[in-house]
Amino acid sequence: MELCDLGIKELKDVFAKGEASAEDAVKSVIARVRAKNGSIGAYVSFDEEAALALARENPKSVPVAVKDLINVKGQPCTCGSKILEGYTSPYDATVIANMKKAGFIPAGRVNMDEFAMGSSTENSALAVTRNPYDVSRVPGGSSGGSAAAVGGDMCIAALGTDTGGSIRQPASFCNIVGVKPSYGRVSRYGVTAFASSLDQVGPMAKCVDDAAVLLGAIAGRDPRDGTTPSLPVPDYAAALEGASLKGVKIGLPKEYSRMDGMDGEVKRITDEAVERCAGAGAEIVEVSLPHSEYAMAVYYIIAPAEASANLARFDGVRYGHRSKDASDVYSLYVKSRAEGFGAEVKRRIIMGTYVLSSGYYDAYYLRAQKVRTLIRRDFDEAFAKCDALLTPCAPTPAFKLGEVQDPLTMYLNDLFTIPSSLAGVCAAAVPAGFAADTRLPVGVQFICGAFEEEKLLKVSKAFENATGTARDLAAAAGKIPSVF
């Protein structure tokens, strides 16, 4: 085992024993990335010198791969888009500043769907990322580079972002733990905006303990993001000591078991997860989220609407691509944007502009926000009856590269993750097993109320204790990442 095969907690133990330094860890990650990035494509850039310099300055720090839409001063930040080719970040995002204070350093930039729009990372304009468990398949998305890097042991841990499932679905596809914090738990300052009422940064890690410590490092009030409340950040990692499911009420949303298009193995593994929770002492209760069937529709109005406004800043004026064929300001805008954005981004900008345009605003955007209120109320009512919800993470295991062509079919990947995003509550993807037929990893999702990350992580940890860590599950399935 190399240092890069370790998780955060394990690496810190090695540091504590004086057996290795942060520089050794970064060197190990670099060696693995040099050897495997050609086949996995998790990273889009890696400033080795910068990472090594940070490691030398902070000899007990843990390197973290960063999704390529989070600003790190002096580093590129492409957002998976041609429009930001050559861009260099002039400042650190708050999550990066927080992370550095807590003993983590940014090391390498990982691939993503362009502007976080997608569920397979195939929308990246920069590189193809492959699933470390089967290189013919996608790693999920939009945080596919983060998931592939963690799942393929090409990093210690990673940061991703989640707007409608972009941490959780790739975590499920790549056999890792991913946490989407409650809306407002983590600052969005310096994180390129997709849909501002939904975006959250979260940890992607090899086990629940690691996700907890990394979440604790990045979370909290930021004067630069008015949506972060002044709530204390508990010591999440310490709270996991002795985590148990005994007496915990786990809610099963009855609507979710009837969702169309769910893979048989995903259903089997989810049912097994329910039994495992019951076996560990949890009380299983049925709950209802009656407006879930409208969540996809609400999301594909609200997210594109917000995206169309956020992406208006890419106009070729202050940064990013500028068309060489522009003769006046209007053509500068339309040509720079046409040349810089990919198809999915263009589709969503058009969709978002349409639902916000005069005459359609009330029927689409305003109505969607009202239905969003009803979705949030569903969760409030469900959490009056249980501590946490348990659902599948994604309807299927990882699919083949190029397999899903129709945008609407691709959107259905986020069927189980979108409702909790709209409600602003917290959720985690936790490895749960391997499909018998395809031998691909499958995760389940736990969901807790807003700012209940401590409870969410305790439930996830107790489930991990009952099920086995990602590494245990892979070994039991005789399935080590195919990069080895």
């Binding site: 109005i301 070729g316 940064y319 500028r322 522009a326 003769s327 006046d328 944007r337 109505r367 209120t373």
Partner: protein, 96 residues
């Protein structure tokens, strides 16, 4: 309801090729058709949820802080002149 792709693209300052226009038209008609299912929901008397949570009116002291260095802010400019971003002529008759 059919989406007017050409009109929305113009509002969004996005030039589309003929092929893109046709492809997006058929794809977005499907997506708009799908999202129209929210019209089934009774939203009488329901307040819209404007944000991810219920925080409202966050205030801060209006204190002077150090801001980004001018050179850093201009470093990514596609074109500049001195301390300014350089653009094609906007005002009629002015020198660009």
């Amino acid at each position: 309801m059919k989406i007017d792709v050409a009109y929305a693209a113009e509002l969004a300052r996005l030039e589309l090729s003929r092929e893109e226009k046709d492809l997006f038209q058929s794809q977005l008609d499907g997506i708009v058709g799908y999202v129209e299912k929210i019209s089934e929901v009774d939203v009488e008397g329901v307040e819209p949820m404007m944000h991810g949570h219920t925080l409202v009116n966050v205030f801060r002291e209006d204190e002077v802080e150090e801001s980004m260095d001018r050179e850093d802010a201009l470093a990514n400019a596609p074109a500049r002149t001195g301390d300014e971003f350089l653009l094609p002529k906007i005002v009629e008759g002015a020198e660009s």
